[in-house]
């Protein structure tokens, strides 16, 4: 099977290509990228005015399986990923039971092998049962194929245990994906602390909730030499600590989610639970700091924190509703609309933050369009103009605050190992 993608704008950080090229896929590999390829192919795609990027990699998703299959499954989550242009996704371990030993990792891999249409790269929990009491089977999980460690949804509050896990993880060269949240300060907060929370009578989550653990984790990364990756960074303070740590050479990277650069706390309308996520939507100055850090590459990665929840779970009060929104199918459009179109980042930076850097941080041989590599490819139409339509999501859940929002950009094709897993023509 040969697929020829003609005349697209190939944007590939690994080879530093950015220009009009033809790209030829044979079976599961990219076999040639050059200005003109004259050859027969089983399928020829005209990519005039389209972007051809290495398949996107989302370091931070929740696939809810096992335990919460009413929200999402590995199968539906992978379809959502394909529709969003993602060819590899990293499910977080906060399932039920959690991914804290090699048997659970095997389970995810077997299910993925059978049902997923994109690559599933599991993340293992740092502590058993995510209870923050004992180290999980980090070595066994590494052998079973996890790509990172995370206690996602919370921080390991016991600094001694956390530090030991960081040192232990070094033997397996696994990055620690850190959800930074000081539990006692966060309390029962549901939205950003400040005038909006006061007005609505809701408990607030202040910036220091995130800042304190961010700085703690940076200190521990420095003292242990472990690789730290800050998840869903949301505050101006965290950006400042990150920048300063990078300047000193600490092994730290960071991701931001589209909702944290596209929305502020002032966008929250009434008690709409689709605006409840953790970390919460912050103030303008926080978003401005994030935008600046995206531009200057202080922030390495754009990840979605795709957090599907069933409608009946979200149709309740702010206090009762679970945290999180779906993100896989809006990430490309929001990144183009809010960042690329506004000149904050270039298309090359977009490909770097959504594919090349995640691959590098996870230590996987992906995120590249170089000849001979596995054909994980996405074709994006950056000029498409439309609105966010949750009813078309492939995800089982539709919990998004972006419904009806005008956006630019969409995914036209997604290829995983040379196979078309999404084609916009089939919508």
């Amino acid at each position: 099977m040969r697929i020829l993608i003609r005349n697209g704008r190939v944007i590939d950080p690994a080879t530093n290509r950015d220009g009009k090229y033809d790209l030829l896929i044979e079976d599961n590999k990219i076999i040639e990228v050059s200005e003109k390829i004259d050859t027969d192919a089983d399928k020829i795609i005209n990519a005039d005015n389209l972007w051809v990027m290495p398949g996107l990699i989302d370091m931070h998703v929740h696939l809810r399986e096992p335990g919460f299959e009413h929200k999402e499954t590995i199968e539906t989550g992978s379809k959502s990923a394909a529709r969003g242009g993602f060819t590899s996704i990293c499910p977080m371990p906060n399932t039920n039971p959690p991914i804290d030993n090699e048997f659970m990792v095997e389970y995810i891999k077997v299910k993925a092998e059978r049902e997923a249409i994109v690559n599933i790269l599991p993340v293992g929990a740092i502590t058993k049962g995510q209870l923050g009491e004992e180290m999980s089977n980090i070595g066994n999980m590494a052998a079973a194929g996890i790509v990172a460690l995370s206690e996602d949804g919370k921080s390991v509050m016991n600094a001694n245990l956390y530090k030991k896990a960081m040192i232990y993880s070094k033997n397996y060269n696994l990055p620690i994906l850190a959800h930074c949240e000081e539990k006692s300060l966060a309390g029962k907060g549901v939205i950003n602390a400040g005038s909006k929370a006061l007005e609505l009578g809701l408990s607030g989550i202040s910036n220091d909730v995130e800042d304190i653990i961010t700085i703690r984790d940076i200190i521990l990364a420095e003292s242990t030499g472990a690789r730290l990756h800050l998840c869903h960074l949301s505050t101006e303070g965290a950006v400042r600590f990150l920048k300063e740590a990078k300047q000193r050479g600490v092994l730290v990277t960071a991701e931001v989610c589209p909702h944290h650069f596209a929305l502020t706390v002032d966008d929250i309308t009434g008690y709409d639970t689709n605006y409840k996520m953790n970390p919460p939507l912050r103030n303008r100055n926080d978003v401005d700091a994030i935008l600046e850090a995206l531009k200057s590459d202080i922030i390495d990665v754009i990840a979605t924190d795709h957090a599907p929840h069933h409608e009946y779970e979200k149709n309740t009060t702010m206090d009762e509703a679970p945290f999180g929104i779906v993100g896989l199918e809006t990430a490309v459009a929001l990144t183009i609309t809010e960042l690329v179109d506004k000149g904050i980042i270039t298309p090359m930076q977009m490909a770097t933050k959504m594919s090349f850097n995640p691959a590098k941080i996870l230590g996987i041989n992906k995120g590249t369009l170089s000849e001979g590599s596995i054909a994980d490819v996405v074709i994006i139409d950056p000029n498409f103009v439309g609105t966010v339509e949750p009813e078309k999501f492939a995800s089982k859940s539709k919990n998004t605050p972006f419904k009806g929002r005008s956006i630019k950009g969409r995914v036209n094709y997604t290829f995983v190992s040379g196979i078309v897993v999404y084609d916009v023509a089939n919508e």
Binding site: G194, S195, L198, E199, L200, G201, L202, G270, Y271, Y312, N315, T316, T317, M318, D319, E320
Partner: protein
Amino acid sequence: MWNYKDFIGIKNLTKEDIKHILDLSFEMKQQMINDKAREIKQTRGNMTTLFFENSTRTKHSFYMAGQNIGLRVTDLAIGTSSVQKGESLMDTLQTIDSMGTDIIVMRHSESGSQEFAARNCKASIISAGDGTNEHPTQALLDAMTILDKKGSFEGLKVTIAGDILHSRVAKSNLYLLNKMGAKVTFTGPTTLVPKAITQMGAKVCYDLKESVKDADVVMGLRIQMERQNSGAFPDLREYNKTYGIDGAIFDYAKKDAILMHPAPVNWGVELDRSLFTAPYSVISEQVTNGVAVRMAVLYMIMEYRNNRK
């Protein structure tokens, strides 16, 4: 003219809406206190009270108000209901709604629960307080009491002392008094009076005497014992010493000032026991006005429903 299905907050009401309700409330009160029970405006319909939080005066006040205007009133005893088996708010609401009640009077510990109920029920939702958001009928009965004593809201200085951060009463009062032209000053410990509330149009002052100085209305708020556990202040003794209102503090207010409290009062904490019989205390009148205000609101909502049938 009232034109909303529900009554869940002061925030979105206009000055005219508030005037309309207060006028009707005074009319109701006249009929009530002159013992002309047979002349009280009557309507038909039924209401259910749904109190997820404990209450003496608000619940009974609504109960009496409903009966005074001819509603058939029932109560869902939450303590012995399926809520104790883990039934969700949505399920409880839908069950009551499906039984065909016209009005649900609800109190719930979560902010926004009234909006949620209003969105999901055919019945009219009347708020008896939600979380730390609003307690709109309390603000109305306070306004009625102030208007009765002062004749007008324009330029009045209203000082509210206590746990502002967790007070739905303070918030509803602030919305209402701002709309009507009075000026609100909040005072209390820095941990319970956030500076950010100035963005909602209040003055904040952490000195009790300064706050009470030249006030027309001084209102103490109940210090909720459970808040103490959150560590917002060391203990009740220190609270009383710093923010407790007694006769000497009250002397800083204007000569004709009135003392208010939404009750129940923790005597000896936010108000000194000596104020129990103070001539300037209007706490009992607040309770009476509460019935009148709730009669007005219930009547108004039933009129709205009947006109749309």
